[in-house]
């Protein structure tokens, strides 16, 4: 009977023509097509525009040859160098101030038995759901030279604190807006420290501050650095907040002003873009160095995070007071923006003179296209991101296709491309391409959607990857074993199980795209095509438009807040169905 298996195999091949090998070949063309389409998309809308920007920065305008002359101009110009150091200073200071805000919140809520820890962590993330520049004007009204706080300080103490003067204002607004990145990362890494890490140190004689310095702090460090470098990049690249605060001597505003006032041919805008990319890459690199080989998530089965301590009465009062003060500060932009949106006149007084709903009426009557545009653009961008993210995740995780990893890397590299740079790249690359109706591709509203999609792709891609990774391959194999073909397996098993993750990915893209401004500011050609963030920016330019601008801002907060809440619901719901 020794020959039976071989004979059976031959018979099986004869009897059932689509043998496994043949079927695998048959599946390939579809995968290759998907790979090609995604690669083409990334090439056209990410790689080429960015390379164009870099090329122009090094290109002699007359001969088209390589030159460093533009960089020479940049380095020898006082205004640009001052802008560069201002940007560096503002970014570093924002990291420092954001750390001061985030550290106590993270530490107290993870380390101590703390009533309201969830509330603190929820409120702590709230700033992220507001466009950073939206709060800038409100912050000016609250903390500016003649803002509410300084008016009160002047009346009772006779002092005036320059919160919002010049660069201080940018640092203040940015750190209040971006500190959640540090809070989230730091909280996660503190929670991931197993209590045995701490107990073993106590067992060997360490306690108190030494225990914190030698064990807890180093273990939480990678998370802190990841958060801090994110804050650094965001602040360094941000265009809208300094512009709204009328701070022009920073890199991003300079690039914007050169391109919009001098023109698309001016090389300095491109040089600045290269500098912005360079620093983004640098801080991402530092963050990856900090995280390399340091998967410090040490929680073991049965173990929880750090042991929660009980605070004494005095400590508790001090801690609650500190956290209340921080939360008050953090929520100030929301509060200010809301007040502004219902204020009749608010100037030189701690609170508005009167209240009205006229701004909302005005926004809905005159400028509702901003809202519909935003919903369409962000919705399309989110959809594109989820489709491309799922395709890449599938190619990487479920096929052994050579090059699939590269799609992942290229898509993720969008993280290091500032919105401003992408905007400039699109203008330069697509300006010469004319559409059938004779207008330029760069002026087509769809290009804004593509820019938003590329900008948010890394986040959606990670969500799709995570969702697919959670599905054990054996679940799919079981379906195949029971007779389902590949496409049906995807439709009946993979997609339903991924649904939660996909929805989360879509909403993340949607919500952040809805308040994006850096790329949009470069690409919007007419206010009919403009999204909400752009409208807000335009309104905020004039004192008369501030009320309406604030109303738009509140609408943006509501849209983003609702969708974040929805994604939370979906994630909770999907969480129960993770495969073992």
């Amino acid at each position: 009977m020794a020959t039976t298996p071989a004979i059976e195999a031959i018979e099986a091949t004869v009897a059932a023509p689509p043998a496994p090998r043949a079927r695998r070949w048959a599946a390939r063309p579809g995968e290759a097509l998907a790979f090609g389409l995604v690669a083409l998309f990334l090439l056209a809308f990410l790689v080429v525009p960015v390379l164009t920007v870099i090329t122009v920065a090094f290109q002699d305008r007359a001969t088209g040859g390589f030159t460093l002359a533009h960089f020479g101009d940049f380095l020898s110009n006082d205004l640009f160098m001052r802008s560069f150091f201002n940007s560096l200073y503002v970014s570093l200071m924002s990291v420092a101030v954001a750390s001061l805000i985030a550290l106590p919140l993270a530490y107290f809520t993870t380390r101590f038995e703390f009533r309201g820890a969830i509330l603190v962590q929820t409120l702590g993330v709230l700033p992220l759901i507001m466009p950073p520049f939206a709060g800038a004007v409100a912050m000016g009204l609250l903390f500016g030279r003649t803002g509410s706080v300084n008016l009160l300080l002047d009346e009772y103490l006779g002092i005036n604190i320059p919160f919002m003067e010049g660069l201080n204002g940018v640092i203040f607004v940015q750190s209040i807006h971006y500190f959640p990145f540090i809070l989230l990362n730091l909280t996660a890494s503190l929670k991931n420290i197993d209590r045995a890490m701490e107990e073993s140190a106590q067992n060997l004689g360490a306690h108190g501050f030494r225990l914190f310095r030698r064990i807890v702090l180093p273990l939480a460090m990678p998370g802190y650095i990841a958060g801090a470098s994110l804050v650094f990049i965001k602040v360094f690249d941000d265009l809208a907040t300094p512009l709204l605060l009328n701070v022009r001597e920073m890199l991003a505003p300079q690039a914007y002003l050169r391109i919009t006032s001098v023109g698309l041919e001016d090389p300095i805008g491109y040089v600045i873009s290269v500098v912005l990319i360079l620093f983004s890459v640098l801080s991402l690199w530092i963050s990856s160095l900090a995280l390399r080989g340091k998967d410090y998530a040490t929680v073991q089965r049965g173990g929880g995070g750090l042991v929660k301590r009980r605070m004494s009465r005095g400590q508790a009062i001090a801690a609650y007071a500190l956290i209340a003060a921080i939360l008050l500060l953090v929520l100030a932009p929301h509060f200010g923006l809301f007040l502004l949106s219902i204020a009749t006149i608010w100037s030189y007084s701690p609170l508005p003179d009167g209240y009205t709903l006229a701004h909302y009426t005005r926004v809905f009557a005159e400028s509702s296209q901003y809202i519909t545009n935003t919903l369409i653009y962000a919705g399309l961008a989110g959809l594109i991101d989820v489709i491309i993210g799922t395709t890449i995740a599938y190619l990487v995780l479920r096929t052994r296709m050579v090059g699939a990893r590269w799609l992942d890397y290229v898509a993720m590299s969008a993280l290091a491309v500032p919105g401003l740079v992408l905007g400039i790249g699109y203008l330069r690359t697509f300006f010469g391409i004319t559409l059938p109706d004779g207008s330029s591709l760069a002026a087509f509203w769809g290009i804004i959607v593509l820019a938003l999609a590329i900008r948010r792709l890394p986040y959606a891609l990670r969500a799709c990857m995570a969702a697919m990774q959670q599905i054990s391959a054996s679940l799919e194999e079981a379906a195949e074993n029971l007779g389902a073909r590949r496409l049906r397996v995807v439709r009946r098993i993979v997609l339903p199980l991924m649904a939660g993750g996909l929805a989360a990915g879509f909403v993340t893209s949607f919500a952040t795209a809805a308040v994006e401004l850096s790329a949009t500011l470069m690409l919007v050609q007419s206010s009919d095509d403009a999204p909400l963030a752009y409208g807000l920016y335009v309104f905020m330019q004039s004192p008369a438009g501030r009320g309406a601008g604030a109303a738009l801002g509140i609408i943006a907060v509501v849209i983003v807040g609702l969708s974040t809440w929805l994604s939370h619901l979906v994630a909770e719901h999907g969480g129960g169905r993770k495969s073992a």
Binding site: Q202, N203, L204, G205, A206, H207, R210, P218, K294, G303
Partner: protein, 368 residues
């Protein structure tokens, strides 16, 4: 470095441990109930019991990671109940090893010495001695993530013995190792404990681990110490049904005690009577317990003078190599019987009938 020099660097006068009247609750759950233990200096002692029996809680109480509502813990005659963990000088090896991933192996091992302000000149040799003791010399510059599970455990052990603790606490030290390594490591643990003459408590749920390495064992269940003794004492003279069932395999048969003047007997449900020695103190609600090897299986109808015969049907058979284990259904209960297997001998058929021969001297009457 000679073995002797190593030991003088790392060994110290052994200390005993006393646990007196400890009660511990989490909320309304009583985790430890009136625990009293005396662990002798230099002894290798085990806390053995199923999960949730309180053994780890008791170990963590000695290390200072939880607080008892009542009672106290003494190490080397000193009451340490009110000392914080970092002042107790009891070395603990954690189940997860708890090596700090941001430090090299050397830094991990040196940590406790640095915290104790040991002079720098002395730290180096003691770290070397500790690493050599566990066979990891030359691995000092690696990070924990670069080591295998077995090596990580050795680092955890080296880190703890380097500080010369008064006593050594091991929390399920073998649970994260694969089966083959477990046998090797438990021998090494025993060897190391003997060389350092270090009072050691070993927490485990595995009776084989406890039996093979420990001098004495405290068997625990539901927060109560059931019995303390050497492995053989516990196996041969279990104090109750829990201990009998937890250490080794036990056949337990329900029945009633019959008394007629001074004479007494145990009647197994179903009718067979086992005479008991007069004056034997039988606890209330007692059941009959015997080990599978303390009973023999005979063909039906065999004469066995002085032994009681119970007839039953063979319902399953497992061949274990040195012996054959039969499951025999007798009077509604299933009894396990081990018969030695001699080369070439056959076995009894499943489904056939056989007689169990009980030796009255080898059965015990135990309460729950």
């Amino acid at each position: 470095m000679s073995a002797l020099a190593q030991e003088t660097l790392l060994a110290r006068e052994p200390a005993g441990i006393r646990v007196e009247g400890v009660d511990l609750s989490y909320g309304t759950t009583r985790v430890l109930r009136d625990v009293n233990l005396e662990i002798r200096p230099g002894e290798f002692f085990a806390f053995l019991g199923p999960s949730g029996c309180g053994k780890t809680t008791l170990l963590r109480l000695i290390a200072g990671f939880n607080t008892a509502q009542r009672g106290r813990v003494l190490v080397g005659g000193q009451d340490i109940s009110d000392l914080p963990p970092w002042k107790r000088d009891v070395g603990m090896v954690f189940q997860s090893y708890a090596l700090w991933p941001h430090m090299t192996v050397r830094r991990n091992v040196a940590f406790g010495l640095e915290e104790r302000r040991v002079p720098r000149a002395e730290i180096g040799p003691r770290v070397d001695a500790a690493l050599k003791l566990v066979g990891l010399e030359g691995m000092g510059e690696r990070r924990p993530a670069q080591l295998s599970g077995g090596q990580q455990q050795r680092v955890a052990l080296a880190r703890t013995v380097a500080v010369r603790p008064k006593v050594l606490l091991l929390d399920e030290p073998l649970s994260n190792l694969d089966a083959r390594l477990r046998v090797q490591v438990r021998r090494e643990l025993r060897d190391l404990q003997q060389r350092l003459r270090l009072t050691t408590i070993f927490v485990t749920h595995d009776q084989e681990e406890a039996n093979t390495v420990c001098d004495r064992i405290a068997v625990m269940n539901e927060g109560v110490v059931q019995q303390v003794g050497t492995p053989m004492e516990l196996y041969d003279h279990p104090a109750n049904l829990f201990v009998a069932g937890f250490l080794g395999t036990a056949n337990i048969m329900p029945g009633t005690v019959l008394r007629d003047g001074a004479a007494q007997a145990f009647e197994i449900d179903g009718g067979t009577r086992i005479p008991l020695p007069p004056g034997l103190d039988v606890p209330a609600g007692a059941r009959l317990m015997f080990r599978p090897q303390d009973v023999s299986l005979l063909p039906v109808g065999t004469e066995a003078p002085g032994r009681r015969l119970l007839e039953g049907e063979i319902v399953h058979r497992e061949f274990l190599g040195a012996s054959i284990r039969y499951g025999v259904r007798v009077a509604g209960a299933e009894v396990l019987v081990d018969t030695p297997h001699m080369g070439g001998e056959g076995h009894l058929p499943v489904g056939g009938r056989a007689a169990l021969a009980l030796d009255a001297a080898r059965v015990k009457l135990l309460a729950a």
